[in-house]
Symmetry: C2
Subunit: 648 residues, 2 copies
């Protein structure tokens, strides 16, 4: 049966003249034992909520999972798809893509991230198990990882977090073949992986990755541990590929016609290309039917469960209306009281309305809880004796945190949010990108969003980060100006079910900016102050600089210059508006100014090539924040002066 995986993988790569057969052939035995004897899944119901999750962290070996999906009878991967491996429109892209092919639990390819995402899948499982009980949620998360995955830094964050949280339903199968692209892995890595995982609190074991009996024994052992499990599967790369078996150069597309012939001979495989002999296909499908058996019991349990309605709602990600009612009341009050506040506090205030009403929200922080305002009173810590806790102490692991959040969102039943400093979004960036690519809902709270950080200095002051994330497709970058906008942005973020969001928030206090209007942030940009007569100047700003813009407007109006102010809390939502609305917001005043305590890249779209930009052109510095705003010239005075000069 394993040879079917090998042949399909080898032939698909050969036909595409692109891809990797080394890993699928090497791990075919381990995968076959797993998918025929241990994995809980149902090809007819790929979305069954309590299925085991299988993550191919070494995503370049995508033909492994495509072969498995095809052989076990998933409709999503036909033999034509396998023939069209890596071609436009096929279900079999170069790396497995979530949402593109049923049976793929997460997009993988950027090494290490599959493992880190799996930690989030396993965290969500334990959390929902605590919430809904063994009857509804009780499954494992299996990972196949390669040498590259274990070299990536994020693997450290993932395994130390999993070890700390004793995620015993997480099982990692390491393809220990001692090969990476540049040759034998030892040219770059000589560490003892088993000792390393053990030091992080994992149960570990090594096994011959080609001995089915030993593999089965090891997997059985793995399911009985009280810690996360790592099994080093000693394999030969391209196992079965005749003379190319074990050759470091057989990692990627390197088997030519004659090699394929020799490999088929070595395996004794006589079927035509891209056909699987009926008895073998039947054996695979029979194994899959067995793997699907628990589904009926589970459905029966769901039917009688008192949690059924809430469980189903949670898994679809629907939000209770009462949460938004509470938020709207909070907004109405803010419009009334007009509180001066840091926008991180404003975000915390919005969360205080949402978290009690949305049980699915699981928060956290990368060791900056007090600074990020992500903790809401009444939450308890997610811990080994309290997996039902809704607040995760992620530790100083920004990337691991964001990847785990992806995993939770992918699992379903959890809406993850968490915090760090905006400048450290650079650490999380690869996971945020993967979330954007997968189209899932995670909310990254990013406080300390500019030189407003103050004394911590340039290492802690983002200046390029807004532009760098505005460049990323399918991501909402929110930068609210005050308490009203912060609440509106949270609403928009939660309602964006197929797009991750960043909440970019200030450390320092700002006056209330919004005086009136309903849910204007949802349009991305809007006129927050109109001019007293036909406007001569438009000032565009986001976040804390909206108050600078409003102060400048007052001054200009006082000097007889009609001026309007546009707040731009979310460029991406603005881009999605119709042309007429966009034109009305951009306007056509003779002078256009943008104010943002960040670099100018992209602002031309609001202010044109001749617009005036008041912001940063360099990294920041260490000093109290008010001193920095003055020194870097991001003040009402500068805006007024430049606008007046341009009017002349």
């Amino acid at each position: 049966m394993a040879d079917a995986v090998r042949v399909l993988s080898m032939e698909a790569v050969h036909r595409a003249k692109s891809g990797h057969q080394g890993m699928p052939m090497g791990m075919a035995d381990v995968a076959t034992v797993l998918w025929t004897k241990f994995l809980k899944y149902d090809p007819k119901n790929p979305d069954w909520a309590d299925r085991d999750r299988f993550v191919l962290s070494a995503g370049h070996g995508s033909m492994l999972i495509y072969s498995l999906l095809h052989l076990t009878g998933f409709k999503s991967v036909s033999m034509d798809d396998i023939k069209n491996f890596r071609q436009w429109g096929s279900a079999t892209p170069g790396h497995p893509e979530y949402g593109h092919t049923a049976g793929i639990e997460t997009t993988t390819g950027p090494l290490g991230q599959g493992l880190a995402t799996a930690v989030g899948l396993a965290m969500a499982e334990r959390h929902l198990n605590a919430r809904f009980g063994d009857d509804l949620v009780d499954h494992k998360t299996w990972v196949i990882a390669g040498d590259g995955c274990l070299m990536e830094g994020v693997s450290h964050e993932a395994i130390s977090l999993a070890g700390r949280l004793k995620l015993n339903k997480l099982i990692v199968l390491w393809d220990d073949n001692n090969v990476t692209i540049d040759g034998v892995a030892t040219i770059a890595e000589t560490g003892d992986q088993l000792a390393r995982f053990k030091a992080a609190g994992w149960a570990v074991k090594a096994v011959d990755g080609h001995d089915h009996g030993k593999i089965a024994a090891a997997l059985r052992w793995a399911t009985q541990q009280s810690k996360p499990v790592m099994i080093a599967c000693k394999t030969k790369i391209s196992k079965g590929a005749g003379p190319k078996e074990g050759d470091p150069h057989s990692h990627g597309y390197t088997l030519f016609d004659s090699d394929i012939e020799l490999a088929r001979k070595a395996m004794g495989w006589e079927a035509e290309s891209f056909t699987v002999p009926a008895p073998i296909k039947k054996a695979w499908e029979a194994a899959a039917r067995k793997a699907a058996k628990p589904r009926k019991d589970w459905e029966a349990a769901l039917k009688v469960s008192s949690h059924a309605a809430d469980f189903k709602r949670a898994m679809t990600g629907e939000l209770p209306a009462k949460a938004f009612e509470a938020l709207d009341a909070h907004i109405a009050q803010a419009l009334e009281i007009k509180p001066a506040d840091a926008t991180r506090s404003a975000s915390g205030a919005a969360l205080a309305q949402l978290v009690p009403h949305i049980d699915d929200m699981v928060g956290g922080s990368a060791d900056l809880t007090g600074s990020n305002n992500t903790f809401v009173k009444g939450m308890t810590a997610y811990d080994t004796d309290n997996y039902g806790g809704r607040y995760v102490h992620y530790g100083v692991r920004e990337f691991g945190m964001s990847a785990a959040m992806n995993g939770m969102a992918l699992h379903g039943g959890v809406i993850p949010y968490s915090g760090t400093f905006f400048v450290f979004s650079d650490y999380s960036r690869p996971a945020i990108r993967l979330g954007a690519l997968m189209g899932i809902r995670t909310i990254n709270v990013l406080t300390h969003d500019s030189i407003g950080v103050g004394e911590d200095g340039p290492t802690h002051q983002p200046v390029e980060h807004l532009a760098s994330f505005r460049a990323m497709p399918n991501l909402l970058v929110f930068r609210p100006a005050d308490q009203v906008e912060a609440a509106e942005c949270w609403k928009a973020a939660l309602k964006s079910t197929t797009t991750p969001s960043l909440m970019v928030l200030s450390r320092q206090k700002v006056p209330a900016a919004r005086e009136t209007g309903d849910n204007l942030s949802a349009k991305g940009a809007y006129e927050i102050r109109s001019a007293s007569s036909e406007a001569k100047v438009s000032i565009f700003a986001s976040g804390t600089e909206v108050s600078v813009a409003i102060a400048a407007q007052k001054e200009l109006e006082a000097q007889g210059v009609a001026t309007r102010v546009v707040s731009t809390p979310c460029w991406e939502l603005f881009d999605a508006q119709d042309e007429a609305y966009k034109a009305s917001v951009i306007g056509s005043t003779p002078v256009n100014v943008a104010v943002e305590a960040a670099v100018s890249l992209g602002w031309e779209k609001f202010i044109g090539q001749d617009g005036i930009f008041v912001g940063m052109t360099s990294f920041g510095a260490s000093a109290p924040q008010d001193v920095l705003y003055k020194q870097f010239g991001i003040t009402k005075e500068v805006v007024v002066e430049k606008a007046l000069a341009a009017l002349k």
Copy 2:
């Protein structure tokens, strides 16, 4: 003597009402033993090439190093600077900044990176030792790291790389105080750090971090190992702070007037605020004089060394003229032959000219040597038995690689370059940022720069990365169009001694674009094709899309539409040109088109608010690259069609 460090740290933080006294007070004993008995340095010659490097990876504890610099007599930190801790213009910013304060070897603050940078410092030391001998280069690299540093993923890449390379002159002192911002460290981390480092090939030991005798014995032991060394220094946070000693909440600014009083009492410290009793200051300076003794021997050795001239040249970073002569000849030949090539090959061809002439260049790749074209024939691998090797197999460790490159550049004597896929620049980004902030010369070769990656699909296809790096201050983002531009960009990158560079290069082949002109890439953007008469259309493009632009121009000209083409290999160099040049390049044609296989963010600066952008608005897909260009509409036909439509 250690109490002097404690009091200065505590008082500076108290006065600034900002900063962290917990670590400086906790590690004062270890630092005192190190700086008075082991560290090789000279306060009068902070740039002495063979000094030991000291890296405060836990950069938030900056008052530790400022105290040490002041006490040992560095001119760079006066008592006024200590009083002005974290204030505008002082030598004592919130986090230590390289280039700002003599004695600071690297900017730290973003956790984990100090340690990863130190690996590069230690790699450079071994390399230059192999090149110039023990007489000229033979020193240690010491690191103080905190719990946060060891939680960050990059710490894994750093320690496994250092372990692999047996960097025995690298010694890490871990401030094992079990405290992070959110509380006791065990809320997020329970791993066994000693076992973890041991698994990575390090020598490890634990010591009481307040017992000077035991600390000295441990440091002595550390200097005798054949592997990198990690010593867990068991400390109490805020040691000496009376009742606040050991309190997890005393990490940052939390000691108030009464606490300071109690702490002084506990330490028996009676001197006025911001004064150090003369005998104590003298003892510190005497220790520093002792630490500086080897400098004279070293200078004598340098005088008689046959390597003296080359060593001095290398340490200043000056480049031999012959390298550029070779490069210019190569460019002349390329203008003649007009080779069609992938720009990654073009970069490799430029490297083949430079590497043999510039001994200081040390290359490498994060396990993508064959793909990145970073290896030049004749190079040997940097390895434990060949530290003189100039090619580093960094493994799948993009972030660790870029941080190590920063360390090499900071050390001096090495000009590091290395490669990965452009999409994985996201992993390296925090280190690239730190390099830009420090103003050092590293060159990051980033191949596979667009949907031109083809079959590997969207996980491997950068679309937002150009914009995201163009947003970063003090960074040169090069995207050459062909062999001539690639060589010119390498020249510009090497000559930019205070700015890191990215070489963004294609996987796929493109025709030669440049026909004439000398070193035009140095201006960042220039007219590569002029119009046959007064231009009606300007087409702007970079990299592989320059050939699309040129093809479109031909077609438009054939249809009677005078069209010019501007190549934009480096926006940052273009921004630095004078206004007249910039205006002439941008021009004033009625129709402006930009073509780039990436997102549009920032292009308005060339094409205006009404310009036409032909590029990406989403992530890519998996298919052969020519199919993708067609499917995403980045073709000559689309450019022509849109330009004609706009002209009507």
